[in-house]
Symmetry: C2
Subunit: 200 residues, 2 copies
């Protein structure tokens, strides 16, 4: 019974994440979710007593899926630059293929920036975890002697994340067919500018 | 009478842009706008017969203000790198100070990417105008002999816009006090990597 309840909750959250990727976290309502699942709104209340609880569950779910699909496989790559390459490549696949409306985190970032509260706080915590993952990957590359002594992991993480956001806009809104080529060239230039050796 | 009508319309659109910067273009409704202006909803219908007409007017208004505050002053700078520096600096001020909820274009970009229709089309047209402005500025720098022969204006425009989006996220959502320093360092690295001479 507990297991059935857990499974039902997981199905609800997965559908909520799909809706949030298109409509945004604010556009997600218990009413539209109930309709989409063919359930009663009161049935959903057994799992989530508020829209905020549902939004928080969607963020937790999204972070878990992203860890499984992007961070964990990247950590299986060799330390340093190969791992950074994997993070960049896997993030692109994640943002493009995971959900029909794109990355819940990126979409929520412009949506919630002016909305103080627990949902915004959870989003900021997720984004900071992601930023630390990127920075740590560059720190490891520095420890491995792969970067120039002057290279700054925090700066490189900022620029890498910026390229990800730029390619997200070019791909999703502008549907520019050159997106992948532009993103790759920017990434290679970033690595080349910081690398101790010409190519890894 | 015509003039009074024009002025009333301009005031309505300016308030609508303020609301859209916080709530998003989709979160903007004739009802909330009427309440915020202390007008009747039917009074607004004399100016805008649909939410879509209002959203389009907000995009047109925002593009006009951005041209006045960012593009026109930048064009007053010398051709090439000084103009690119001005575009970067003025965009930062625009995104930070123009409206309480940040740039309507950036916010709408993740909001409307999955919503086909005339509002999305108008947003894409605006973004493409902005991309052309950035690319053209780099083309001029190349014509002036300020860039390396291999430098690609479209690539540089993509990377510059990516840095703008990264700094927007770091400033608005994450409130990282290092944002300005990170954005400037990224910008200088981008210019240095493409410049024919060490500093301009």
């Amino acid at each position: 019974m507990v297991r059935r309840g857990t499974q039902a909750r997981a199905e609800i959250v997965a559908e909520a994440a799909r809706i949030a990727s298109i409509e945004g976290l604010e556009g997600l309502s218990l009413r539209t979710l109930a309709r989409s699942l063919g359930r009663s709104k009161s049935g959903l209340f057994a799992h989530f007593d508020s829209k905020e609880a549902l939004q928080l569950a969607v963020l937790q779910h999204t972070e878990r899926v992203m860890t499984e699909r992007v961070v964990r496989p990247a950590l299986a790559e060799p330390r340093g630059l190969p791992r950074i390459r994997a993070l960049f490549r896997l993030w692109g696949g994640w943002a493009r293929d995971h959900l029909p409306g794109g990355c819940v985190f990126v979409n929520a970032s412009t949506e919630l920036d002016d909305k103080p509260g627990p949902v915004r706080d959870a989003l900021v915590a997720s984004q900071n975890t992601w930023r630390r993952t990127l920075r740590r990957a560059f720190e490891i590359a520095a420890e491995e002697g792969q970067l120039l002594p002057a290279a700054d992991p925090e700066q490189l993480a900022f620029e890498l994340y910026s390229l990800m956001l730029g390619s997200y806009l070019y791909a999703r809104l502008l549907k520019d067919p050159k997106t992948v080529a532009l993103a790759r060239a920017g990434f290679e230039r970033l690595l080349a500018s910081a690398s101790a050796t010409p190519a890894v």
